[in-house]
Symmetry: C2
Subunit: 712 residues, 2 copies
């Protein structure tokens, strides 16, 4: 692992670079890379490699890698695809540490291409040669030794952003856009097909990279989400990770996989993983940079209470709308703050948040109001809006904001609305004239502030540890059930087995008995007491028992039970269930409570996903479900429950008693632990689970479970 | 009315303008207006008015309006607020047609200011002097006679956009931003306090203005929404109206009303009004212009099927995500189209929509693919994305798109990602070098296309006429009930009166009887039959009858009914209801069906609003309601029903029979007609209304109604 990271570091800070396939031809990719290396003052040695010429871009070239007289640390590969394997082989032989394969034509075009790519990757891995690509645009290191090993037409500014792009073209766009905003990069990587190095590897590298303060990524797929989740969570504790993940919609995912050849990512699983790991997800490239600007310039806010200062009412209103729609609140200013502000503003101005200094508000009024709100303890962050009127000099306002920012540890975001050319004078300096971000529209500032606030909230909370509430002894009993089923190659469990497994993991089933004769039913009634429910318990009927007339509820007398027994027998007749497989479950019937649904599914990329949903009508009509990855912490379980639309039902609806929510959390933790310890579970449904009022145990009214028996 | 519009037209095309309060002082507002008039080549005569000087900006000035030797059509007022009334009085005396009051300090600062403003407005109205402001930035006419009567620091381009702004500062921003985008204005107005001319008036003016193709507005409040709705609907048939309405959130509305002094607008009512009138609402100023660019340059799309052409996968994926999330679909290209495209693109490229021409795709490939998709009948609009790679010239691609656009009647939107300076070369021409809009981000193009598509859809539908299904005879019966209550000064109706009113309007109540003794109950059972429900029917208990134990359901025998009777009597005891006011309703009880809630409220600005919601748990927990203004068309009623989250319940859930949706539409039309014809109704609830399966009438299980008896 050490050497692994070491060589990835060498990739970005090599002492020497060979460009294999560099050609003299104007506009060729190899020449473009060579030119970028030279023009942007790479501080090592460059070796063009090309058997057909003596020099490229006035630099002596060599016929092959082995002919190079000194050591080569990084190999840039721009040869035709059928020659790539040979070049990688040679790179290994000369002891190179890393290679970037620009060449396309592998996994993204055909099955053969994919096989070739796998072979190259294995070869490199065995020799511990780090590989980026194929099918990528290259890499950049913004600081010493100034490596621009891309064919991008532009050079980014040096800075503190680490950028990971799964699209070469978007990489170019990103460089352009960042340059417009005066934002610079520590390292930039176009990942291409990710045959070796992937986003998770780069995040791991950035985590300990002192040159990197903020990590940005444009991703279309995840190569190893399990690792991603862990690495991202660890890294987010140190610095923010902001990503745009495209392919959010089914059509988008299809478009993405058609040009990357990557598997589509399940959105629910991804969302759960990102929010657990503190990763900030934004919706567009524009928002990515609005957010990056804030993260790279500002301290984190202590909370979500925002003060808005403006010199015009309209933009103040727009900002307020945007803040509130994004879950932020307008800070309630203290009387002291308002009194201070009043001292220097005209009577028509407003001292209520948003503070409106009106058109006559100049630098002095701005400074006064800004300092007052920054000092107010009920303010976590400030948005300062300025619409240039004729009489006030924008630069003076910007300077005033800068002074206030210098004396403050709260984030201040500026919005200068109006002429782009005027504004970009302030933004696009490259020399960081101002240490606060400047936006053209209030909505952009609010997006950035929302991202910072949600990240700050995540980071201020203690690390969320998964909770395992079932003892190892109990878990072992459950495990035995699963192992036996696997040994018997049964992918489903019998009623009894399922109950044994779920009971081992702390689930509570209603009093009941599986019986086979009417006499047994009547006998069991003495033990259970009325009301009861009768349910089919045949191994031949798994699903839709209700629809088949196999579930009869709220039976209150022997007569009703006998009648129900007969009806189920008729249903069995209709379903042609063999006489020896006609068991019936007699169970206690419960009035009241709230029906919930719990579930598990195994996602091929993200592992087991746990689900909770409101039961009954709500879950089916409204799709009122929440997902997370396994294992869960109690905090996560609590959050998932709270996010349900049907949550108010749990708190006691229409005078009902509130249900025992802590017990519902327990049930989720139990199911999470069960999934975590029994990876053979393909899917499971606990539906309904009846959540009863505080002081009463929940009851599981039905479970289903399916195992992947091939796995073991 | 004719003179009214005539004078509003004179306001924008005056032969002469007096600027009252123009001062020589550098940076003063009066001088700025004068300077703008002169510098931007106003084609009439300008008269500064100022008793303290001989000339302003080298133009001879006059001591007062009466001293001016020629006629004055427009008076610009920049005097201190206490002199405004006198100036308006003089304007009337010299026969001016219009005045713009720039001066602030009226309704927005105090009650006295509001009174003064009303007085000025009445004076002007009586003399048919059109007034804009006070507290505004002025007006601009982009075409002959080139009137820039504002103190804005910049001059907009001339063009086809009519712009209405309720914020002066945002007006400046809007001019700046439009100029950046190469968009020009026909007329621009900063409304200020709207003492006389308001947004509706301006829309009416723009409707018949040949210089105006698109109407844009930034609004914070509505002065006369009833009129707005009608005028907007009429105008939208001719040209699009796109608005940003701030104060969407409660906090935003508060911020807006604190600086405009205007009443907050109810969002649900506004949304209903806008969508009925075909008005396109966008979320931000940025989006307003993205949308304006598309409307002012492109034909309307025939539907929502979009083809995407790109030279890079990432942006194609982002565009797809944005399209699908905005309710658009990716067009399914015909095989013929795909075959044509295949002819000219490399194998690695994708001919599935989004069509990816990959980085090597140059002008020829672009032209070929673009023409093919434009000719495809399954394509309604095209988004053409181009990320400038090193080898392809952006201008050539833009020219190719232009050629395709010239030969097409479908909208084509271009996205050129990357360097702003490069891109703005294409966008910011002012000479309309390209007749298609160019965006920097895919999301902006998609927002614009969504707006165009929704407008085109609205406009392609026949005008939605309200439907009145209750005969005048029936309606008269209902009206009589209301009139009697008003005559008796009762703001609520008795059970019988309410039933009479609702029955007159076609609502069906369950068989039932209001009785006062247990004997009467038992007698009524013979008529009604089991099961029944017993309900309090006392005039002393209006709400929460269920909570008080005043509603007992599903009673199946005489014994159960007697027991229920006793329990209600006990509840009456507890509530201390007088013995002579203890009526009880015996009603048929219905199993099955779907509970719905219908309602009316009277909005102070928008008139009666009609509501439909899912009943029971859904309506209360999930706030599953839809609003519209009155009167309704059947189409609107249908749409409202379909938009309910609980709509699937109506279609037959878990094997139930579907309910009679047409009858539910009828119920809404009946309620709409009732509200329309009985303006005294303050609020009413029909909850629950039990919608039963096709072939069975709905039943109204409970109604409440409140009248505004002061009104008549």
């Amino acid at each position: 692992m050490d050497e692994w990271i070491e060589n990835l570091n060498v990739m970005f800070s090599p002492k020497s670079v060979a460009v294999v396939g560099a050609s003299r031809r104007e506009g060729s990719i190899g020449r473009a890379i060579l030119k970028n290396l030279v023009d942007y003052q790479y501080q090592g040695i460059v070796y063009p490699v090309n058997p057909k010429t003596d020099s490229v871009y006035a630099i002596r070239s060599y016929p092959d890698l082995k002919a190079i007289p000194g050591p080569v640390e990084l190999v840039m590969v721009v040869v035709p695809s059928h020659l790539v394997k040979t070049v990688i082989q040679e790179s290994i032989e000369i002891g190179a540490k890393a290679a970037v394969i620009i060449t396309a034509g592998f996994r993204e075009v055909s099955e053969e291409g994919a096989a070739e790519e796998r072979e190259i990757a294995q070869m490199a891995k065995a020799a511990n040669l780090r590989l980026i690509g194929p099918n990528c645009m290259g890499i950049i290191h913004g600081h010493y030794p100034n490596l621009n090993a891309t064919f991008a037409p532009r050079q980014p500014l040096p800075g503190k952003i680490g950028f990971i792009s799964q699209s070469g073209a978007l990489g170019v766009v990103v460089i352009d856009y960042a340059t417009q905003l005066g934002l610079g990069f520590s390292k930039f990587v176009s990942l291409g097909n990710k045959a070796d190095v992937n986003a998770t590897d780069m995040i791991r590298l950035f985590a300990d990279d002192d040159e990197t303060d903020v990590i940005l990524a444009y991703l279309e797929s995840f190569s190893d989400p399990w690792n991603f989740s862990e690495v991202a969570a660890m890294t987010s504790r140190k610095k923010p990770i902001v990503i745009v993940k495209s392919g959010r919609t089914a059509a988008g995912a299809k478009a993405a996989s058609s040009h990357t050849g990557a598997m589509a990512t399940k959105e629910t699983a991804l969302e759960a993983t990102l929010s657990k790991s503190g990763v900030v997800r934004v919706a567009s490239v524009e928002e990515l940079f609005d957010t990056a600007m804030a993260f790279s310039k500002l301290p984190l806010p202590g909370g979500n209470r925002v003060a808005v200062i403006t010199n015009a009412g309209g933009p103040g209103t727009l900002t307020t709308d945007a803040l509130v729609s994004n879950g932020m609140t307008l800070a309630t200013l203290s009387d002291k703050t308002k009194d201070i502000i009043k001292e220097k503003i005209p009577e028509e101005a407003s001292v209520e948040n948003p503070i409106d200094l009106i058109a006559s508000g100049g630098p002095e009024e701005y400074a006064h109001a800004l300092n007052a709100v920054i000092s107010d303890e009920s303010v976590d962050s400030v948005i300062a809006i300025f619409v240039p009127p004729i009489m006030v000099n924008t630069a003076k306002i910007a300077n005033v904001i800068q002074e206030a920012v210098n004396a403050s540890n709260k984030p201040v975001l500026a919005v200068l609305m109006g002429r782009n050319d005027l504004i970009s004078k302030y933004i696009n300096t490259g020399e960081d004239q101002y240490t606060f971000p400047i936006y053209q529209f209030p909505e952009s500032a609010v997006n950035a502030l929302r991202a910072m606030t949600s990240y700050a909230t995540w980071r201020s909370k203690p690390i969320d540890e998964p909770e395992y509430i079932i003892s190892p002894e109990q878990a072992a009993k459950g495990r035995a059930v699963v192992e036996q089923a696997v040994a018997e190659a049964r992918d489903t469990l019998t009623q009894e087995q399922a109950r044994e497994l779920f009971e081992a993991y702390g689930f509570i089933f209603p009093q009941g008995r599986v019986v086979e004769s009417l006499d047994d039913v009547i006998m069991s009634l003495e033990e259970i007491g009325f009301p009861v429910v009768l349910k089919m318990a045949s191994d031949s009927v798994f699903a839709h028992k209700s629809d088949e007339g196999g579930v009869l509820l709220d039976l209150r007398s022997n007569e009703e039970v006998i009648e129900a027994w007969k009806r189920i027998q008729k249903a069995y007749d209709r379903l042609k269930v063999p006489k020896n497989d006609r068991a019936i479950l007699v169970q206690k019937f419960y009035h009241g409570g709230v029906e919930m649904a719990l579930g598990l599914t195994l996602d091929r990329q993200f592992g087991p996903l746990i689900m909770i949903g409101s039961g009954g009508v709500l879950v089916e009509i409204l799709d009122d479900v929440q997902f997370s990855t396994v294992p869960l912490s109690r905090e996560e379980a609590r959050k998932m429950i709270k996010r349900l639309k049907g949550y108010p039902l749990l708190l006691g609806y229409r005078g009902d008693n509130p249900v025992d929510i802590r017990q519902l959390e327990d049930a989720m933790l139990q199911l999470s632990q069960m999934a975590h310890e029994n990876r053979e579970i393909l899917e499971s449904d606990i539906n309904p689970l009846l959540a009863l009022e505080v002081g009463h145990d929940h009851v599981v009214l039905d479970v289903r479970l399916k195992l992947d028996i091939r796995q073991s």
